[in-house]
Amino acid sequence: MGTIAEVAPGGLSLPVWPSEPETVDATGRSYLLLGFGPEAASVVDTWARDVGALGPSTIVRSARFDPAAVTAALASTRCGVRIMVAGPQDDVLMTLAAARESGAEPEELRSFVTRTDVLPVFCAHCRATNSVEAVPGGIAVCPACATVLDVHPHLSAVRGSFLGSDTTARELT
């Protein structure tokens, strides 16, 4: 389950992704399948095949997460839909957050991550969210304001991102 799997055991709220794509939930009455990047294509194809005659499906394929396009796709769904997302970790996390913002319940979300080397990081200083190559607990440079950030090891499921704060914020100058 997309959202459940994101909460790691041991109090560390880090994503834990399944190694195989989650299966299609046959109790849905319609399906929204979202795929990001070339690696997601075959996953989405398999899901579309498995949905088959279970109900109408809408497939949205794009290179990157685009908030406007994802929000529009979500707005066109009706209750009873199951939302399945595949792609790089940053795109999947942002899409799941947008789905929750639109009112999706945990049972309605399923996901699969094709690569985990990128993270969405919310910069506490310039308030931009950008995808960066980083690991939770590591360091990244904010692409928007060039601040060197500690990437805090906690996923905000609401924002779909990790918090980044100035590595030198505790130093007196």
């Binding site: 109790t27 009455r29 009706r78 209750c79 639109s102 009112g103 999706a104």
Partner: protein, 321 residues
């Protein structure tokens, strides 16, 4: 319940006397009561779908509040006369403007989800009362909703109020039409909708069945029962009271609650039909339990450590009393 010692009087939900300010029929079988606090003090606000417990001569009955719950200066309830001669008959026959009644609450067991994007409100018969509360709450705070109201012609309480609540209302006067409407409206709600239903047991079963069939997860299907399907009398069994070791025989057709009470073991109770949760008692051990209530979750049933003694039964039950 959390002790209200340090709270402002406006949050009092304990037992308190109210004066009947008005008691008007809204249908031949339904009486609407306006209750003002006897001490003149403030009354607690409440979440939509809450109820109060009224002390009647025939026991304690729960009634849904019909207001939006925000800054009330009174409580209003609508009471259907039931043919069992119980508390509702007392409310219809004995109360008049100026009468004093003791009520407790409000209590919320049917509250709106704070994060809902839209609401599908479903009422059957007198089940309109908490649904009216939900509709008024949504109207007050700028929410959106769609309403299904199923009723017998001539017996619909609050029909004008629900029509005037500001949301589309679909009305049905037959079981077949109610079913049709439910299927149709479940199929066409925006993502993020939560559904709320109150009505007779058979209608709630249909509501759940059609909601699930429309692909709605359980977490979106909220309901408030005021009556469970008729239960069979069950098999006789023996209960043991843990503190005293007393053994109590429970005959077929007699509830564990009544058998305990006959044996001098008092258990607080209210609805006596497995809906309200008031008579929950701990179970120290049991050879088997037959849960027939609508309160315990599947996980709580599996834990086998408590029982609603008004409806549920078992074999060789040792109650933690």
């Amino acid at each position: 319940m959390i002790a209200a010692t340090h709270q402002h009087p406006a949050y009092r939900v304990g037992s308190r006397e109210f004066v009947v300010a008005a008691a008007e029929p809204v249908t031949p079988e339904v009486r609407h009561l306006v209750l003002m606090p006897r001490d003149g003090g403030p009354v607690a606000p409440y979440q939509a779908g809450s109820h109060v417990v009224v002390d009647t001569a025939a026991g304690r009955n729960a009634y849904s509040l019909t207001g939006d719950g925000s800054t009330p200066d009174r409580y209003e309830i609508s009471v259907l006369r039931c043919r069992d001669g119980g508390g509702s008959a007392w409310i219809h026959d004995e109360l008049a403007p100026g009468s004093v009644v003791t009520i407790e609450g409000p209590r919320a067991m049917f509250a709106p989800r704070y994060d809902q994007r839209h609401a599908l409100l479903v009422a059957g018969g007198i089940g309109i009362t908490p649904i009216l509360s939900h509709a008024r709450y949504l109207a007050r705070w700028g929410g959106t909703a769609e309403i299904i109201y199923s009723y017998r012609p001539g017996a619909a309480a609050h029909l004008n109020e629900i029509r005037d609540a500001g949301f589309p209302v679909h009305e049905a006067t037959t079981v077949a039409r109610t079913r049709e409407l439910l299927a149709e409206r479940f199929a066409d709600q925006p993502l993020g909708t939560h559904a709320y239903a109150c009505g007779p047991a058979a209608m709630l079963e249909t509501y759940r069945e059609l909601g699930l069939a429309a692909g709605w997860p359980e977490s979106r299907l909220h309901l408030e029962r005021f009556q469970l399907a008729d239960l069979d009398p069950g098999e006789p069994f023996t209960a043991t009271v843990r503190s005293t070791g007393a053994r109590v025989a429970v005959a077929a057709g007699t509830s564990l609650l009544d058998a305990l009470s006959e044996a001098g073991v008092a258990v607080a109770s209210m609805c006596r039909q497995g809906v309200c949760g008031e008579c929950r008692v701990g179970v120290a051990s049991a050879a088997s339990l037959d849960h027939r209530d609508a309160v315990l979750t599947p996980a709580e049933r599996d834990a086998a450590d408590s029982i609603m003694c008004c409806v549920s039964r078992g074999t060789d039950v040792e109650v933690d009393l």
